[in-house]
């Protein structure tokens, strides 16, 4: 299988990439790792006239902890996040997601930002950046702007990015000392997209949950927050009984469809154990027991 013919342009700077994207509009697509783009092009689901390669831009290659949080450059590969000691220590939820995407080969090339820009409803990073309140920094030819994670996903495969805009980095705000998170996913087999997935991040004061965010993947056109379930946890000590109630409560936030990965009922049913598992792991991590 071959992609349709296209003109390959290797951007020499972020500014040039933004300029090319604006100039060519819908006819141009961005190549970073290519692990979503190239399969789409081979199936001719995408037939861009221009492929703008940003993969050589060192200004997008950073991954660093700062006072504001973790800065993740647009070229950061899943494998880098999976192998980073700093990520494992401060954002174990990101390590969970990074280590379970695709397979080794895909993780070696694929990028977190490419996954987000693709906005597959069953993508792994969407729910994770929602619960981490990530900020998505973009440039266009006229202005820079920051999009909040909760405003980024518009519909399936559709984001808030404007034509000509390029994501340059993510800012993952610092997590508090007594916080913990987890990402758990049910896949049909190794390396597959999620049948359903749950990202959960919480912060404790003693045994009481001070804040909690839960997001679901694979069960709606975009990753969605389970706000009612979050409210059932905040301000409480999480008992076995409450854990059960919370798992029941995510039902209303999800609107899965039946497809090759499972029936809508099955996905709804699987959310419950996933939420319980994510909650249990997050609590342990927040208490530094795991």
């Amino acid at each position: 299988m071959y992609p349709a013919k296209f003109e390959y342009v290797r951007a020499k700077s972020v500014a040039e990439a933004a300029h090319l994207l604006e100039e060519h509009g819908d006819e141009a697509l961005v190549l970073a790792g290519g692990q979503s783009l190239i399969p789409l092009m081979k199936f001719r689901l995408s037939t861009p006239k221009y492929v703008i390669d940003i993969s050589r831009l060192s200004e997008l290659s950073h991954l660093q902890i700062t006072e504001r949080g973790l800065l993740v450059g647009a070229l950061t590969r899943h494998a880098q996040l999976a192998e980073s000691a700093a990520v494992a220590e401060h954002y174990p939820i990101m390590r969970d997601a990074a280590a379970d995407i695709g397979d080794v080969q895909v993780r070696n090339l694929g990028t977190i930002v490419g996954d987000l820009a693709q906005a597959d409803p069953a993508g792994d990073w969407g729910p994770v950046i929602l619960v981490l309140n990530a900020e998505i920094n973009c440039v266009g030819t006229r202005q820079k702007r920051t999009i909040k994670a909760e405003e980024f996903f518009v519909d399936s495969y559709t984001t808030a990015l404007e034509p000509g805009e390029l994501i340059t980095e993510l800012l993952i705000p610092s997590a508090g000392v007594n916080s913990g998170g987890a990402y758990v996913k049910l896949g049909r087999r190794s390396g597959d997209f999620a049948v359903a997935s749950v990202a959960l991040q919480l912060e404790l004061t003693g045994d009481v949950v001070r804040s909690c965010s839960i997001a679901l993947g694979g069960v709606a056109p975009t990753p969605v927050r389970a706000v009612q379930a979050e409210r059932m946890i905040v301000g409480h000590v999480v008992s076995e009984e409450r854990m059960k109630e919370v798992a029941e409560m995510v039902h209303d936030a999800a609107a899965p469809i039946s497809d090759a990965r499972g029936s809508a009922d099955y996905k709804q049913a699987m959310l419950k154990p996933l939420v319980r598992k994510a909650l249990a792991i997050a609590l342990k991590r927040a208490k530094r027991e795991a």
Partner: protein
């Protein structure tokens, strides 16, 4: 529309140069332009891993990499592992432990194992299984493949060698 590009790729230690169509896939550059047919095309959809090669030290699926992405990078294929008459430690281990039946998936399995042993010289059974999760063997001889990789890791340690 300009659809041709010039690339320079170091493959198994030798610099190669070509003017190619921008849509040419790395696997086809290796097989069709360079005649390195040890890298196989199985599914052609990034699932089976038969086309796995090492690009700048990391395993990638060459059916899902454009040849132009490999410009000015270093590629190692299965042909680049043996030294003259001496098989690579992984090749020897696959031979000795019957890590292959039909052999179609073998180049990809070995290149995925090269990536693993480059990062982890003492892998567990489970490390090996994770490392080859992106490689399918339709003879389903996974156990002997895992045994082969573990044996290669032992041979590497005993011989004081690295995977390269």
């Amino acid at each position: 529309m300009k659809t041709r590009v010039k690339i320079r790729v170091k493959v198994n230690g030798e610099t190669t140069e070509a003017r190619i169509e921008s849509r040419l896939l790395l696997v086809d550059y290796l097989r069709e332009e360079l005649g390195l047919t040890g890298t196989h095309v199985g599914c052609d959809t990034s699932n089976c891993g038969a086309c796995t090669v090492i690009m700048d030290g990391r395993a990638v699926k060459s059916c899902t990499v454009l040849a132009v992405q490999a410009d000015r990078r270093e590629i190692t294929t299965i042909e680049g592992l043996a030294r003259r008459d001496e098989l690579h430690v992984l090749q020897k281990a696959f031979w000795e432990h019957q890590g292959l039946q039909c052999g179609f998936c073998t180049p990809g399995m070995i290149m995925a194992a090269v990536d693993l042993l480059g990062k982890n010289g003492m892998p567990t059974d489970s490390d090996v299984r994770s490392a080859i999760a992106g490689n399918l063997c339709r003879c389903t001889g996974y156990n002997t493949i895992v045994e082969s990789v573990l044996a290669a890791a032992v041979a590497m340690r005993e011989g004081g060698r690295t995977v390269k």
